[in-house]
Subunit: 297 residues, 2 copies
């Protein structure tokens, strides 16, 4: 597979506590990846088999009291491939053990509750792999106006988002929340799918040009494209403020879909191998049960 | 694929209002199926691609207000392959659009609510495919003692189940509930995975003999095997009482795993093709949006 033995996690991890400049990151890069699309797809399929094996062991361990579970968080602009990643990476696993939630605009009931309420309800149980397609907090936390953290003026503000003080409060809550999850046995794998402006426009055009893809398009996508710099900066702040040692962000170049799938599956594989879940030992007498079973008529 | 043009649904549907005798049904049969295991697996993979396409259209239609959705209910003895069906059939679909629930022994909170409470919370939303691995109602409704519906004595009673009057009440509620779902756009696909006694014993033995499968085994499985006749009769009653024109049961011979997977995927395919979901027409001006998009720098 990869010749370089550096783990992909180390390569893609966003350094904690340092400023993030997305414009300096090449969205078409394929760091540590296989040699091109065909090799990438084949490698991802092979990784899928190993993931499925580890997933079964994680689940098996949970039946004997192991509380560990994994939460994959996918974040990124529209068309960055969050849904595609779920389809192509999570699609390789046993769907029974996957708890997938796509966070959309919050309902009236959700707005009436504290903002982490709906997130808590979507968490994976022991032995499960949870998947958040756009995390509520990180998506609603794009700031607007001048950014106090950076002290430099912002571009046009992003639509309908919380004011800066509220954002500060929420980032703090998110970090504390993620710490409590990590302490309780949740391995967080937070992937930011990093897309270039040009590739996003190309994908939006494709949605318009292919009749079977038009349902995915909304005219407001064009407004969002015009707000590109503001979104990028909002994401930079989220990556800076919510990347921690216990729940780091991984910056996944996402212009190449095959690389994105390979990278996310490899990140999951690396973390699951670290967890090294084991089939539990039987708490009954195997030989005795065997005899009883054979005595049945 | 199949030479015979009779739909599989017609072949496997349990006739409504007639007595069911499971012992007269060959669990190793492969009615209408491909010629053996290799052909069966290949056919299921091909069906999976068509299912995934229809699933996407069902989801796309829901974004334009189509409320239709599908609920696959898998019922059957332990080891009959409910989990395996989810893995091998639902695993062919986009996991984002699948809402899977495995009903286990009810929690204290669930017991405190009416018995359909937790079922209602697990229903698929418009555009989704819901999957119940063991339906709560049908699993808890195995009767015990003499069966008034049949007037003949029963074998040993099944553990911890509701008394006959309560069972009658629940069957009525289930049928009314399923009717209300059907009226609201839910296509119910209820599959009973029919396993033979010998095959169940073989599978339990395999769980004991393979260390990586022992975690799936519990000594109480042997007690359940001893209660085989009581379970069979309880299932017969459920199939008789809860099979309706709007929500029929399908009896799927399940001794051959490849046939079981092929049959469940074919039943889903037939129903989805009847639904014939369509991509919605765009409610915006495509040419205008194209122009606006290209005007972006």
């Amino acid at each position: 597979m990869r010749k370089d033995r550096t783990s992909l996690g180390k390569r893609l991890r966003v350094p904690v506590g340092e400023p993030v400049d997305l414009s300096a990151q090449d969205a078409a890069a394929t760091p540590g990846g296989p040699d091109g699309k065909a090799a990438g797809k084949a490698a991802t399929a092979r990784i899928g088999e190993r993931l499925a094996g580890l997933q079964e062991r994680l689940w098996a361990a949970s039946t004997a009291g192991d509380r560990r579970r994994v939460l994959l968080i996918l974040q990124g602009m529209d068309t960055s491939g969050k849904g595609g990643t779920v389809k192509h990476v999570i699609g390789l696993l046993n769907p029974s053990g996957c708890r997938i939630t796509a966070f959309r605009a919050p309902t009236a009931e959700e707005r009436a509750h504290p903002f982490l309420w709906r997130v808590e309800k979507a968490l994976p149980l022991p032995g499960e792999l949870g998947i958040f397609d756009r995390s509520l907090p990180h998506s609603r936390l794009r700031s607007s106006g001048r950014c106090p953290h950076r002290g430099r003026p912002r571009g046009p503000s992003v639509r309908g988002l919380a004011p800066a003080a509220e954002i500060d409060r929420r980032y703090e809550l998110i970090n504390r929340f993620e710490k409590s999850l990590a302490d309780d046995g949740v391995t967080l794998v937070k992937c930011f799918l990093h897309l270039s402006y040009e590739e996003q426009r190309r994908r939006l055009l494709k949605r318009l040009d292919r009749p079977e893809k038009r349902w995915k398009f909304a005219p407001s996508d064009i407004d969002d494209l015009a707000l590109w710099p503001a979104y990028q900066e909002a994401y930079e702040i989220a990556l800076e403020r919510c990347g921690t040692a216990y729940a780091p962000w991984y910056l996944v170049p996402a212009d190449h879909k095959w690389y994105r799938d390979w990278a996310v599956s490899t990140l999951l594989l690396e973390r699951l191998r670290e967890l090294d879940p084991r089939y539990p030992e039987p708490d009954f007498d195997v030989a005795e049960c065997r005899k009883r079973l054979l005595r049945q008529p």
